[in-house]
Symmetry: C2
Subunit: 492 residues, 2 copies
Amino acid sequence: MKSVYEHEIQFMTDFNKFFKPSTVVLLGASSDPRKWGWRILSNILFGGFQGNIYPINPNRDEILGKKVYKSVADVPEVPDLAIIVVPPTGIVTAVQDCVDKGIKAGVVITAGFAEIGAKGVALQKEMLEVARNGGMRLIGPNCFGILSPSQKLYAQMPPVYPPAGSIAVVSQSGNVGATIARRAMTLNFGISRLISTGNEADLHVEDFFQYLGTDSLTKVILSYVEGFKDGRAFIKIASQVSRNKPIIMIKVGETEAGASAARSHTAALSGSDRVFEGACRQAGIIRVHNMRELMNIGYGFLCNPAPRGRRVGIATLGGGWGVLAADACSKLGLDVVKLNEEVLKELDSFLPGWWSRNNPVDLVAGSGMADEMLRVIEVLAKYDQTDGVICLGLPFPSPERPPSPLTDEEGQNRGRLIIDHYKNVFMKIRGLSEKYSKPVIVSAELFVPRHYVQEQDIMSEIAGVGGVCYSSPDEAAVVMHALATYGEFLRR
Amino acid sequence: MKSVYEHEIQFMTDFNKFFKPSTVVLLGASSDPRKWGWRILSNILFGGFQGNIYPINPNRDEILGKKVYKSVADVPEVPDLAIIVVPPTGIVTAVQDCVDKGIKAGVVITAGFAEIGAKGVALQKEMLEVARNGGMRLIGPNCFGILSPSQKLYAQMPPVYPPAGSIAVVSQSGNVGATIARRAMTLNFGISRLISTGNEADLHVEDFFQYLGTDSLTKVILSYVEGFKDGRAFIKIASQVSRNKPIIMIKVGETEAGASAARSHTAALSGSDRVFEGACRQAGIIRVHNMRELMNIGYGFLCNPAPRGRRVGIATLGGGWGVLAADACSKLGLDVVKLNEEVLKELDSFLPGWWSRNNPVDLVAGSGMADEMLRVIEVLAKYDQTDGVICLGLPFPSPERPPSPLTDEEGQNRGRLIIDHYKNVFMKIRGLSEKYSKPVIVSAELFVPRHYVQEQDIMSEIAGVGGVCYSSPDEAAVVMHALATYGEFLRR
């Protein structure tokens, strides 16, 4: 049995077979809509995969309009990728059939292996040996499958169809991976590749990191991990990859209750949390502790450069929001800098006489026109006093309240006007961020008269211009802190 | 000058004048839509206040269709409540005019007092003396105003019109108060009273707590505080009120940056954070550190009883979600109990043979029918092994994917079906929570095909049956922890 790293030479070839396959074979295809063998075929077809698809089932001729083959041997070409959903008892034969056919990449969705105890461990080992000896690489078992939206490949248990984008997802939990994809979709952020790694009999989290490091579509990696099969390889690879692509990770099993749950989930051994925390710092991994931080920080990296330091300027339309942000920044070790006379003077030149002359810069209720907020952001960004700017609150589009009830058409126009207002503001903010090469993180409530416009439509258009709008001052602080920490890692 | 607590006898009378006024006078009404004197009048009128409204402006006859009076003296009756928006220079005269008229309750929205330094401090003191000597109570200055939706009284700077409900808001930041109201509205939770307390020249946070303690509409109090004018009075009153109504509070100024921002915002002196933390514990206040926790825990108290202990049962449709929840619960000091044989046996009777036999109870992918999740919740709730249940994931309504594109009417029916599905599930969950007198906290992604149905519509209907759906396992853990901590306070 060869070790994982004797296969280096085939590395890219192998992974392209997973994520850019021309042909897919599905072992365990079913005609019963309650079974995963039907549902996954249905997902692949509905997702619009353009290559050849060969469902295998010895007892059926056709499923969902596709011709069914009795066995892998019968398929008229050598498929790039095998998706395997046969029951555990049939798994060794299935993998052997793939090897015999010359297939080099397989995703084993079937559960009932190492996660169920000794008997499953043995079966998993047997399956792996067959694959290794045949030069076949495996994802899983006990996983949800994979997505590669640029190829319209949606080979996964849940019917989730994110658009192609820059976020890669590597998750030891299928459900958490799907949650990430669905959350990104609601904000119109797309996915480059999504891998549910399951028990990781063959390929591990770090192998996917290595591939994603070379994958031009991927800009940021979000990961959920319960435990490592090879901690040293993980740190080595993650340290290299994270220099080019930020890795944001939830590592669970921090507590005994969590570790116990992880063991019965994916047979993961969580290991010492303190050791992992240190390894993260060393490898430049941004470790987070919940889904919201994972997503928020991921979006933050897509939309912003890493800052050169920890000094933050805060511009706010509301005093309380400013206090919340100042507290949150300071607790995270960001420096809410005291503004110097040069900056104060420039702000004095256009803010009302009674403004706070402090950081946060409180624009003072009633004076918050869009242009004024943009001017404050620019003043805070352009001087060397700060490394990044947090903007709290955006002016609503005017008029806030139309003079009378609107017709459907007027309502549609009004909705469009509101969307354009925000799109425009975020384009200008992105422009300032790029001009001064500093992150500008926005937290604001959007003005959403639901009769005319939905928040999700506004957020989608904002994402379209490279923007993201967080919902609380503390969330903005958390994102800024992650960017700053990553910036420090890059400078080491 | 009398002290605040010499007015005890008038307490309810005074507060009813604020929150159940028959007549409102607005000093500083303006015909200029850019000015707060116009906007607040507009908000009061648009909100539908049914009592008499008297705008005051010596130079206008009519504004927004309302007859304008030259002075407070000219008003043909004694108004219950004065809303005051005149500039700082006119404030003492304005309050004197109110006192002379016999008005007992005033909201001073005008800014430019203690928060701007010594000159403002003196002016604020002068204004207060006039009011005290005339037996008039004041909210503010430097505040956003108040809401009392049951009376259709929306006397506030921002145009926010939450429906009447059970959440009271007491905020030293007007913006944060408005944010709370808007967030609650999006989930269809209503507001009983909202008070933006501003600089608290006269009435303090704790005075409103005392009133809300007696207010039958209020079930839970959400509060944002930058500093206390009278720490001892606060602790005394909060300790009493929180026995009947949970108080959830953000107290900022934890850091020097936050404290400095608070000083220039509402002239607040934040005080020692450690002292406050201890006082919270003593007074049963649930202290939180960000807006999301504030809202989530508030909803949690509206929808659940306080548990009798810290033992949690977790039911999950996804292994990873379960691990996240177990970690989060355990870190917060909740006990993810080991299930005993009695419970395991009952779960064995209907779960698939390969289920985890562990807490979290992983229902295993593919077996998660709605009824099965409800059965697991019931098993976890009915035995004495747990004090509360966390439910992660809800089955989607079937079919997940309609066989073909739907007509508009079919789409509407489908949307209704999805909403009814979730409403029905949450009604049953509420039923189990009530039957066993234990909290059941739900975190789930909802199935929202946006073409047919909006998430907000589903959430609104869920709130209508006393339910709330959180978006992450860790959020459910945070809410359970807050409920358990409050339960312990009640048992002390």
